[in-house]
Symmetry: C2
Subunit: 230 residues, 2 copies
DNA sequence: GCAAAAGTGTTGTACTTACACCCATGG
DNA sequence: CCATGGGTGTAAGTACAACACTTTTGC
């Protein structure tokens, strides 16, 4: 009786598509691939795949990310579900989009290369298959919102970063210029970064100090009723 | 071959659950029902149902809303997809939550009564089935965000409203008190409301002027680079 | 005439914006 | 010695928060 009620209904393929954001060359990039199967084989596409019985949506997203990049424990966040009847010309598929934030430089693209994966700037995206352009747009809006009031951008770096890099990253995400002194003032007011003794000497002769994000200090900061804002 | 690739994958039941928000007695309410089927029959639940083959997610959401309330053309927005393996004790179901904004007063609950539907304040919600409490929480957060920077709250009213009602509504959504003069100052600065000659004489002897939201003015306002903010 | 809600301005504070020069270093 | 990016403070303007009294009218 119970089974009857549930099982009498239509079932659907559920796909997960990943918008993998990386920061490189002062630009926000998305890791795109040539679609490996028909229809629209070889067209630019997000990395996607089908959800399987034993896994949650979140687990399916991690699986897809791992399949294409061999990376685990990556920060991911759901963007939303896309369910138009004709969104996928290959069949009826409901897709759930997730974005992931990774360090593009240290990112192992050897495996991704097998799939013709490339980092492409969000400001010059090609036409992607199906509704994937819409997914990227929605993901960017969500990322802009989250980045403005939560310290998620640090996931783009391997621990340490210079203030200039951090500002370049925010400019790439917001797609606007920021004032250097005002940006640094906000940062130093929140007092959430630790200055290292080490300098990055690659980008300038003088060298720029590296900083790290202090998670403990951030937790206290929030407990005390403050709000992260950049 | 194409069909093979798609069809070899697992298929899932997809449900849509509706968080129907209404404004009544100076509180933000959700229309809840007693779950009509096993498992957890008669427990408090959101209004939900299964998606069918021929319809999009959005259409399925409209269908569910219509089924329980006989209303069409209601403002709805997707909250997100919920896909934990064991979220529904009756079987493997991925659910997509939507919220809807309605005028609770003029709302036809005769049909809803058939389902034991009741308006319950979001501040004193009972335990709902499955992950429905989480869905409501997420919906409230999204509503708070949207209400702060988009003129969606007017969907709670049938056209006209008093400024006091509008403020009460924002206080219910934000779950905090607002300053009357500051609130009205912001409103009059944006200049998006039209004052009617008519007064509401129910809530006070003096009477409060009714206002309407001017959509054309809002569109110009946005074109000119302004931002809605309340 | 009084209770109950409607309506109305000002001031101090905090935040945001705009803006320009010196510093350190490698080549 | 010079080119390049790193680093720093101040002043003006804007937005936000706090605050209390008068008005209207049905009973």
């Amino acid at each position: 009786m119970l089974q009857t009620y549930y099982e009498n209904n239509d079932k659907f393929l559920i796909a997960v598509d990943c918008i993998i954001f990386g920061f490189q060359d002062k630009e926000l990039n998305v890791l795109l691939t040539r679609r490996p199967v028909e229809p629209l084989k070889n067209e630019w596409s997000l990395m996607g795949g089908f959800m399987e019985n034993g896994e949650s949506l979140d687990q399916a997203a991690e699986k897809i990310l791992f399949r294409y990049t061999s990376h685990k424990d990556i920060y991911m966040e759901q963007v939303g579900a896309y369910g138009d009847v004709d969104r996928d010309s290959g069949g009826r598929v409901v897709s759930v989009a997730y974005y992931a934030l990774v360090n593009a430089e240290n990112f192992n693209t050897s495996r991704a290369k097998k799939y013709d994966a490339k980092w492409l700037s969000v400001s010059k995206l090609p036409k992607l298959v199906f509704d994937h352009n819409k997914m990227v747009e929605d993901a960017i809006k969500l990322l802009q919102y989250k980045a403005s009031n939560q310290p998620i951008v640090f996931k783009f770096f391997d621990e340490k970063f210079t203030l200039t890099e951090l500002q370049d990253l925010y400019e790439a995400i917001y797609q606007m210029q920021l004032d250097k002194r005002n940006f640094r003032k906000k940062l130093s007011n929140m007092n959430l970064l630790d200055k290292l003794d080490e300098k990055d000497k690659v980008n300038s002769r003088r060298g720029a100090y590296y900083y790290t994000f202090n998670k403990e200090r951030y937790e206290k900061f929030i407990e005390e009723g403050n709000r992260f804002s950049l």
